[in-house]
């Protein structure tokens, strides 16, 4: 079942005896298990495992260094941040994983790194912006059902990016098959420069600007986060328009009275105290001016909320990223392992020449692979754009680099590896960003160094990545 390169299963080995069990075999041969339960279970397993490992490491560090900075209890801070770190790790981890898939798919069939893939991701992000912006300009964006809008945007980006990837393959890579391995690498770098400035020229001429802000940021559906409270009940989405709020100091002195004009926003109840987090447009009752207040608390000051209450605002976009990624990965798994074309791709990835002799249209398989990789990159771009809000033609480089790292970490050429690598890298980054702050000599600026060190360490012990198999090759 597993192939050498484009495998979607980790080679466990320990479970071999279990595999021989007839009941297990029967379940395994069921399509629901193979194409839905197994991949989703695998993703869940990776998420939980990555989160668990990082949590354990973080607490282990906090035992060794309980107070890295005066007045900072590392363990307490970790507890406070834990849900936030995990959510942010999963969110960015899936983005990395989806970009990494593009690297890995292409590597699987052609054995070379498509360095222009980060720009395909960027094009996806820009296309996502273009579509949402046109909808916003025509004034119809608000009337779209988010459940249709988001898939529409994502699928459009996928089509454009996938098409672009196929075009790039046809024009710049196919003539170079059989050339020394480094040659397509340089072509890819050239293409990156070309795409970055090409897109920049396009947006510069059409919009005179290259900071492209998604108008979806202003949509209530995408804008308002889902607050999650740990240690307390959650009340969300209360309309607080027309309510009068006071800003009161701890001593009970009323500083100011504000009349909230109108805003549907989420409020959170912690231990019987309602507090609001989102700045709200309000009228100053005493002077009549319209202004904005940062801290709007009904009758109470923020400082009085007891410590230990974990409030995490999970943005809808993070949930969208995770959901879309899961759906797409399940589909990809089915496509690669369950269809005839998938079989063809796997055959080409194993041995191009023989696959050709067996009557498989090699060029078509390669083109389809590029389309798939490009489509995943494009989807990642659009989702990334929806999540971060603003993209530029230069946005591809860093996520591309990280995703490439993730692909290698998981074992390049291995689909499951890309997923595992992406999630691992995302989680490692989130935990490093969350905790390095408390070490005065280090800080977040060293996050990348630690992330790369983890990569190097893993590669020393597993020179072909977490799930990769040994591939002999030369430059």
């Amino acid at each position: 079942m597993t192939t050498e390169t484009l495998s979607t299963r980790p080679t466990t080995g320990i479970l071999d005896s279990l595999r021989e069990n007839p009941t297990v075999k029967r379940i395994q041969s069921n399509w629901i298990y193979r194409y839905i339960v197994f991949p989703i279970g695998q993703m869940l397993f990776f998420i939980v495992a990555a989160a668990l490992v990082m949590t354990v490491i973080a607490y282990a560090v906090s035992i060794v260094v309980p107070e890295p900075r005066p007045n900072i209890n590392l363990a307490a801070q970790i507890t406070k941040q834990l849900p936030g770190m995990i959510v942010s790790g999963v969110g960015i981890g899936f983005v990395y994983a989806m970009i990494a898939l593009g690297y890995t798919l292409v590597y699987g069939v052609l054995k070379f790194i498509n360095f222009a893939h980060s720009e395909i991701f960027m094009v996806g992000a820009v296309v996502g912006f273009e579509i949402t912006d046109r909808l916003a300009a025509s004034g119809t964006i608000a009337s779209w059902n988010p459940l249709i809008l988001v898939p529409f945007v994502v699928i459009s980006s996928m089509l454009v990016s996938g098409g672009l990837a196929v075009l790039i393959e046809r024009v710049a890579y196919r003539p170079l098959r059989g050339a020394p391995r480094l040659v397509p690498l340089i072509t890819a770098i050239g293409l990156s420069f070309f795409l970055i400035d090409g897109v920049r020229a396009l947006v510069a001429v059409t919009r005179n600007d290259f900071n492209l802000t998604y108008p979806t940021q202003e949509l209530d559906f995408l804008k308002n986060p889902i607050p999650l409270t740990f240690n307390g009940p959650v009340v969300g989405g209360t309309n607080i328009g027309g309510v009068t709020y006071e800003q009161i100091t701890a001593d009970g002195v009323v500083l100011d009275e504000w009349q909230v004009e109108s805003a549907t926003y989420s409020s959170i109840t912690v231990g019987g105290v309602t507090l609001g987090g989102v700045p709200v447009k309000a009228n100053d009752i005493s002077s009549g001016e319209t202004g904005y207040d940062m801290i709007l608390v009904e009758g109470r000051d923020l400082d009085e909320i007891e410590d230990g209450a974990n409030i995490v605002n999970i943005r809808i976009t993070v949930i969208i990223i995770v959901l879309s990624a899961v759906i797409m990965l399940v589909l990809l798994n089915y496509f690669v392992n369950g269809t005839k074309i998938g079989k063809g791709i796997r055959a080409v990835s194993q041995d191009q020449a023989t696959a050709g002799l067996m009557g498989i249209n090699v060029n078509r398989m390669v083109a389809i692979t590029f389309f798939l990789g490009g489509a995943f990159g494009g989807a990642a771009g659009a989702l990334f754009g929806l999540n971060v809000g603003t993209v530029t033609p230069y946005v591809g480089f860093i996520p591309g680099l990280k995703a490439f790292t993730a692909a290698v970490l998981g074992g390049i050429g291995n689909i499951t590896g890309a997923l595992l690598g992406g999630l691992t890298l995302g989680m490692v980054e989130a935990f490093l960003n969350g905790t390095l702050v408390y070490f005065p000599a280090l800080g977040q600026r060293y996050t990348d160094i630690f992330a790369f060190s983890v990569l190097i360490l893993i590669l020393i012990f597993r020179p072909s990545g977490l799930l990769g198999e040994r591939v002999d090759e030369k430059v």
Partner: protein, 403 residues
């Protein structure tokens, strides 16, 4: 096949060479060139282009006095790609063009420092619109001047104001790890501590899009104010994400925030953000409003941070060249004479206030304005509330005054 091709190459070469000798044109007016150096390509180009455009606008509008003296002014923009090597290579190119009498640039201190060595070696005057790094002028070169403020004073002015904001006791300082962002953030931190604020963290990040991870410890530490030393294209996104993640305190930043685009990027989250600026808000200075309109008309886009400073820098250059020509009896001045004339600039009324250079090339008195973002609508940017104006003497000036 091969023979034909190489023949063709030779032929082309020969034609090109002969062309190059033939095409020499005569000019009626004596030509003076003013160069600009800033990144015109790459991620920082939005600021670099603004510098370039503002200089072009200034030359176009203000070259009248020089034309009357019988000189035409040409503008030569260079792209330093925010890279020291390219900047230095351009600088070598610039100093070898005898017609270039002044340079306005750069955006990045990392490029300005090595390039200005080349200018200074050749007596060519440089006016920096954007390099707030203290080392630019602290070297004491006769040819290096700037029209913008310094990191040390700007950061400190911000911190002094932050201490006066009601309810701010703790601050968290972020920077973009560039010489600019980190420099200003360090001076902010030092002054904030001196003012009795407690600094909960000092972090640098190169991240430009996804700040999820960086925000987590901020949420846990609950600072009253976040100071972000960086440019709006990064900080605007950060602010919008931080707010969405549930941060409830204040934001503050340096003049890198001062762009209408900040409002677009940060949206509602950016409303209420404080920032220091060295350029006068256009609501206060009419000339600045005129500049903003002209700029938008000519280039079809809004003016970015350092645009007004670049305009002022070019204006000072033009005025100084005219002065040098007059002092030289109408003849083409030497570069050293131009440099001298620039340094002698006194009370120049620019968009960013009155400029008089001290012996190091810093403006003797730099104005710092503290503003607050009032609306998420970028069209309303010019109506941001001016909360405080501070005139701070340059270190040399301050030392002179105190002694």
């Amino acid at each position: 096949m091969r023979t034909k091709k190489s023949m063709l190459v030779l032929l082309v070469l020969a034609v090109a060479l002969s062309l190059s000798v033939v095409m020499v044109q005569a000019q009626d007016m004596q030509v003076i060139k003013i160069a600009s150096q800033s990144p015109l390509s790459g991620p920082q180009s939005i600021l670099g282009i603004s510098i370039r455009n503002s200089v072009e606008l200034a030359i176009e509008q203000l070259q009248g006095p020089l034309n009357d003296l019988g000189y035409s002014v040409e503008f030569v923009p260079f792209d330093d790609q925010a890279t020291p090597d390219v900047g230095v290579s351009n600088a070598q190119n610039i100093v070898n063009d005898a017609a270039i009498l002044a340079v306005v640039g750069h955006l990045n201190s990392g490029v300005a420092l090595p390039s200005s060595e080349v200018y200074n070696d050749n007596d060519l005057v440089m006016l920096s619109p954007a390099n707030t790094n203290v080392n630019i002028t602290d070297r004491g070169y006769a040819t290096v001047n700037r029209v913008c403020g310094r990191d040390d004073t700007q950061g400190a002015a911000g911190a002094a104001f932050a201490a006066t904001i009601e309810g701010v006791e703790t601050v968290y300082v972020l920077h973009d790890t560039t010489a600019y962002g980190q420099g200003v953030a360090e001076f902010f931190m030092a002054e904030a501590e001196a003012q009795g604020l407690s600094v909960l963290g000092f972090e640098g990040t190169e991240e430009a899009a996804n700040f999820d991870g960086i925000i987590q410890p901020v949420l846990a530490l609950e600072p009253d104010l976040i100071y972000f030393g960086g440019i709006y294209s990064q900080t605007g996104i950060f602010i919008s994400q931080a707010r969405a993640a549930g941060y409830e305190g204040f934001f503050m930043g340096p003049d890198g925030f001062d762009s209408s685009e900040f409002a677009d990027l940060s949206g509602d989250a950016g409303v209420g953000t404080y920032y220091t600026s060295v350029a006068a808000p256009v609501t206060v200075y009419e000339t600045a409003a005129q500049f903003a309109t002209d700029y938008e008309e000519k280039f079809g886009e809004g003016v970015q941070p350092f645009g007004a400073q670049s305009f002022d820098a070019a204006a000072i250059v033009l005025q100084s060249i005219a002065a040098a020509i007059e002092a030289n009896g109408g003849a083409m001045p030497t570069r050293a004479q131009v440099a001298e004339a620039v340094r002698a600039t006194e009370g120049f009324e620019g968009l960013t206030g009155a400029i008089t250079f001290d012996d190091n090339g810093d403006p003797e008195l730099a104005n710092y304005f503290i503003l607050q973002v009032g609306s998420a609508d970028s069209a309303e940017w010019n109506n941001n509330a001016l909360l405080s104006t501070q005139s701070i003497a340059s270190p040399l000036m301050a030392a002179a005054m105190s002694s």
